[in-house]
Amino acid sequence: MRRRHFVFPILILSAACSRAPRVANDVEIVPAAKLTLDPNDAVWRDAPVHAAKLLLQDLVEPRLMKPSTAEVRVQAVASGNEVAFRLHWMDATRDDQSSPGRMVDSCAVQLPQKTEKDAPAPQMGEAARGVEITMWRADWQAYVNGRGDTIRDVYPNAAVDHYPFEAQSLAPGSTVQSEMAKRYAPAAAVGNRRVGPRKSPVEDLLASGPGSLSPNAAGTSTGRGERTKEGWAVVIQRRLPDGLSPKVRSQVAFAVWEGSQQEAGARKMRTGWIPLSLKESSK
């Protein structure tokens, strides 16, 4: 049967759709009816944008000596007890596969653990004055989006003769089989949360100074990142910081890692603290 093809007239976009969001000097969290992890959702159309200049992490070794990502554009919306940040930055290369010598594109949002007048040191906090960090990684996003978690997903032509824990005598998925598999994955055996396959593209972390990053078991953050024409757009949703209110401001900081430039860990582009305010609902 022949299909009929229809040509729809191109609708003229409304003025509201084409209007660029307001530029803000700080990061302003504006109220939203509902939060979304979709970086292309309409909720972001009107949220004010803060263009955060990124600085080299050149305070502690190993330092980043060559600048890469120049700026991250940040928007924030809140609903109920949750806040969602949308980070958008330019990145010509998609680096979403971690392997020997290959780093991944990533970003992170950092907030003080306590909302106080004086924020702790912006470089991952300080002793007894910690920070909460939520990190998104492009490789975890790829796993969540359906990429497999085997060596052939990294190297399609890899030849593997045999894994001991996949012997015919071991029933797939059995306790014996999974216990044996763990023996050959030491990080999994000791509960390292970086072990794949990931169910979420983000990770909640705590820090109290450089080199002190640790998992935040109480964290409930979620997120989603998408490749755009220019780079990445990532939404990170987390609990609103305790103490933050329309009358009490806090601080927020961001970091971006450019995988193609071998950035990981301390080698990153980052901001200092940026004032964070929660706007009252006009309704």
């Binding site: 020997p100 072990v195 990981a264």
Partner: protein, 375 residues
């Protein structure tokens, strides 16, 4: 950076952390002249520790056909080129180590292999070493083959992997000096891969963490030598504990070979890590190449090794290589016999320095058959 004394360089040097010596230091001696590159050690390690997902390419133990074989590719040439030649004044190294050469913003001078660098476990293996009928197709600075170099983690006294990790995820055990990656703490930044000049830390893409040789510490804790040692067909390896030169004990097998006879030398001491795997250098390679790998004592070590037939104690100790699975901490020669014991004085093994020669007649009257000498 702190200042530490590196006895292999005969001087103080810069290191990221202050000097901290373990109670005991795991060490090993490999006799390069006995290695035939059968790779049994490689397989022993592989089947024991790295048969998991993400570990497919890992060779915590490997054997390279030197001068060109290398895993990962050009691990030695690349850093030697970056470091540039440093001079020795006698036994004192006057050049810069990788810590002293660290560029601004770095803890060590290092480089990170690309994944393709792990594609060839041993370039040059089984290449012909002599002249082919119609001449070689290409000429290289060295002969295609000099000797076989077996490698594991050196469990260095000044580990560059440990110094490189910004999270302190790598530690050196106080009880035996073994260097380990804390698998619960590692976040896979691969700084250790970049920092280790021997490229003996490997990134596991499935777990997102770095992994390395653990010197089979569960065996060592039971008083046994690691898997790659006990499975060595050529009996080229001996594991034990080494003391500082000023505390060397002549009845400690490792001390005797390294400090007393000085026939076992560290690999690339000029890097400054004070590696704890010591090599009896190969006898049949150019002296300059040998010294680049094993330092200024390499020729004297070869001379002492060649003279072992006239040195009853050295000849006896060399017979203990590969004779027992147990860790030997003491040794003793009595006449034509040599024995080894543990810290409790329990004798572990006793072997003759010269195996008795038994000549069997060609015809066996009991079995009524003629024996054939197989080549």
């Amino acid at each position: 950076m702190a200042r530490v004394f590196n006895w292999q360089l005969g001087r103080e040097m810069s290191y990221w952390y202050p000097e901290s010596r373990p109670q005991k230091q795991f060490a090993a001696v490999f006799d390069t002249n006995k290695c035939i590159a059968c790779q049994t050690c490689t397989l022993a390690c592989k089947t024991t520790w790295t048969s998991g997902k993400g570990q497919e390419y890992m060779l915590w133990n490997n054997v390279e056909s030197k001068p060109y074989g290398s895993y990962p590719q050009a691990w030695d040439l690349k850093l030697l080129d970056m470091l540039e030649a440093g001079k020795w004044n006698g036994n004192v190294y006057e050049g810069k180590t990788i810590f002293e050469s660290a560029p601004a913003g770095e803890r060590v001078m290092g480089w990170r292999p690309e994944d393709q660098d792990y594609s060839y476990p041993n370039v040059g293996e089984d290449d012909c070493a002599g002249q082919v009928d119609h001449g070689a197709l290409m000429s290289l600075p060295h002969m295609q083959w000099f000797f076989y170099l077996a490698r594991i983690c050196n469990h260095c006294s000044n580990p560059a992997c440990l110094a490189s990790c910004p999270r302190g995820s790598i530690y050196k055990r106080q009880e035996d000096g073994i260097v380990l990656v804390d698998q619960s703490r590692c976040r896979g930044y691969q700084e250790c891969v970049r920092g280790c000049p021997y490229k003996k830390v490997f990134f596991n893409p499935m777990t997102g963490t770095s992994e390395k040789c653990i010197a089979c510490y569960p065996k060592m804790e039971q008083g046994m030598q690691p898997q790659c040692f006990v499975n060595c067909i050529g009996k080229i390896r001996m594991a034990g504990y080494i003391n500082r030169p000023e505390k060397a004990r002549g009845d400690n097998p490792i001390d005797y070979l390294v400090h007393v006879k000085k026939i076992a030398l560290p690999l690339f001491p000029q890097y400054g890590l004070e590696p704890n795997v010591y090599y009896i250098p190969p006898v049949n390679v150019p002296s300059s190449f040998r010294q680049q790998l094993f330092g200024p004592g390499a020729d004297a070590a070869v001379a002492a090794y060649r003279n072992a037939k006239n040195d009853p104690d050295l000849a006896a100790l060399l017979c203990l290589f590969g004779c027992t699975e147990s860790m030997m901490t003491h040794w003793n020669r009595q006449g034509d016999w040599v024995s080894a014991s543990d810290d409790q004085g329990k004798q572990l093994v006793k072997v003759p320095v010269k195996e008795p020669v038994v000549i069997r007649p060609a015809f066996d009257p009991k079995q009524q058959l003629v024996r054939i000498n197989c080549p």
